[in-house]
């Protein structure tokens, strides 16, 4: 009897639903406990608002900033800077990578200076950019553009050079000319790593923005944070940081959605 029972039982015991839910929820427990401790600490006066505002204050401030339109305006300014910088950086990186990836001469001309410049910590160029471009929008956008050019260039260049030679040969046997080979074989082969480059570029773009907005800004999330510092408003500073984080997450989700569409042919995504 007992033998029959143990044999008929499935090999892996099925987890009850509530337990699976609990497992999924468990990951959120420790962050929630930390936030609760922070709140309690603030209420008991252990954490001074000058050091760090209470979570409840931060929420209220976020609501107030959003309602007054201040948050929206500053976010729009910051987003505008990132998008302009990204547009320039991604375009430049893509064009340079295609030039260097598809021709020997292009590689000789482009790759060596790019590899040399890449080793420069580009955020260290801020003083030069201020001297060259002043303190308006130009140095901010230029910093984002410069920072995003390299990840796009490096990954797309590697992707183009990594295109499977056997597929290129097959294309040649079936009558594709150079243009068609680039379009149907080389560039699609490079797309996965180009998208990795784009995701990297987005991360760098936010980082550059944070640094760029420390340069004498009079609008933008960075300006909001700097202004708050002068008035010891840690709540506004945290709201600004949270907005940076959320914008970064959103951008990443966007590229991942793009990947799912553009790389639908990959087996991991095909099966899933």
């Amino acid at each position: 009897m007992s033998l029959a029972l143990s044999l008929s039982r499935p090999a892996t015991p099925r987890v009850p639903r509530w337990r699976a839910d609990w497992r999924a929820a468990r990951r959120f427990v420790s962050p929630l406990v930390l936030v609760a401790a922070w709140q309690v600490g603030s209420m008991l006066g252990w954490i001074s608002p000058r050091t760090l505002a209470a979570p409840s204050t931060i929420l209220a401030t976020a609501w107030g900033l959003a309602a007054s339109g201040e948050l929206g305006t500053n976010m729009a300014v910051s987003l505008g800077r990132v998008l302009s910088g990204l547009a320039i950086g991604v375009t430049t990186g893509t064009l340079l990578a295609i030039a260097a990836g598809l021709s020997r001469r292009g590689e000789e001309v482009v790759d060596a200076p790019m590899q040399a410049l890449r080793t420069l910590p580009f955020l260290g160029l801020v003083p030069l950019f201020i001297l060259w471009l002043g303190i308006g929008e130009a140095p901010k956008i230029a910093l984002v553009a410069l920072g995003t050019t390299f990840p796009v260039y490096l990954n797309l260049f590697a992707g183009i050079r990594g295109a499977d030679r056997k597929l290129v040969e097959a294309g040649r046997v079936f009558g594709l000319d150079r243009r068609a080979l680039v379009r149907h074989v080389v560039l699609p082969a490079a797309l996965p790593s180009a998208l990795v480059g784009l995701r990297y570029a987005l991360g760098v773009a936010w980082l550059s923005l944070v640094v760029a907005e420390q340069i004498n800004a009079n609008a933008g999330i960075g300006y909001m944070i700097n202004d708050a510092r002068d008035f010891l408003r840690t709540d506004i500073i945290v709201v600004g940081l949270l907005v940076y984080a959320l914008l970064g997450l959103g951008a990443d989700a966007l590229v991942r959605a793009l990947e799912r569409r553009a790389l639908a042919w990959r087996p991991s995504l095909v099966e899933g």
């Binding site: 597929l167 040969e169 040649r172 046997v173 079936f174 594709l176 087996p267």
Partner: protein, 239 residues
């Protein structure tokens, strides 16, 4: 079939890489519609010869190469573009009207009509290789080059592919050159087996067995033994 079919004629083909001579004044003639197997040890220059016939390597000035057109090829690996669905892979480089209809006809012939819109990476090894055959077939080739296309398949799939290739060859009668290192495959499929060694064709052995062929057919073992001897494999090892 068509009038004025052109034979394959190669005269004095020499290919050197650094100091190493791979093909040494090779001569080769294939009659129109003939199915020929090309055998040779690895490094004997089989692939180099095939690459030249496929137009992947340039023909040296002193050599003569005359080929029927169009030429199509299937490789050891399917070499499908993973980012294009099966039918687009088959259509690769095709020009002219009703491409989709021609592609569908080719896929039906290899039994893949239901996988027209599948991604190549979802196909099994045999299915992918059949898609590669459809891609060659859809061009109505007069010379079909097969570079060990069954080597990576399991035994059962390989047997099915052998039957398919013979069916396709009978239906379309392209001159076919099959590179293989499998003596049994050569005896099963080809009208004639050539052995390549030291950069030249060193043996030219007709295979006059009626089709369909089986390993148990009289004469099969003798041809197999002869080919193995030409390849320099002692019989004790081969058995």
């Amino acid at each position: 079939m068509a009038p004025m079919e052109v034979p394959v004629e190669v005269r004095g083909l020499t290919r050197r890489f650094a100091s190493h001579t791979v093909l040494d004044g090779l001569d080769l003639t294939l009659a129109p519609g003939e199915f020929v197997a090309l055998l040779g040890r690895s490094g004997s220059g089989k692939s180099t010869l095939l690459r030249t016939l496929a137009g992947l390597d340039p023909v040296p000035a002193e050599a003569t190469v005359r080929l029927p057109a169009p030429v199509a090829m299937a490789f050891q690996e399917p070499r499908l573009l993973p980012w294009q669905p099966v039918w687009r892979n088959v259509a690769l480089g095709l020009e002219g009207p009703d491409i989709r209809t021609r592609v569908q006809a080719a896929l039906r012939e290899v039994g893949l009509e239901r996988h027209e819109n599948a991604w190549p990476l979802t196909l099994s090894g045999g299915e992918a290789q059949r898609a590669a055959l459809a891609r060659a077939l859809v061009r109505a080739p007069r010379l079909l080059l097969l570079d060990e296309p069954f080597a990576a398949l399991d035994a059962l799939t390989r047997m099915r592919m052998h039957a398919l290739v013979i069916d396709l060859w009978r239906a379309h009668a392209p001159t076919t050159l099959l590179v293989t290192h499998d003596v049994d495959e050569a005896v099963l499929l080809a009208d004639r087996a050539l052995v390549l060694a030291h950069g030249r064709i060193v043996a030219d052995i007709p295979i006059p067995l009626p089709r369909p062929r089986r390993h148990a057919d009289p004469g099969f073992a003798a041809l197999r033994a002869r080919l193995l001897a030409e390849l320099g494999v002692p019989q004790a090892e081969a058995a």
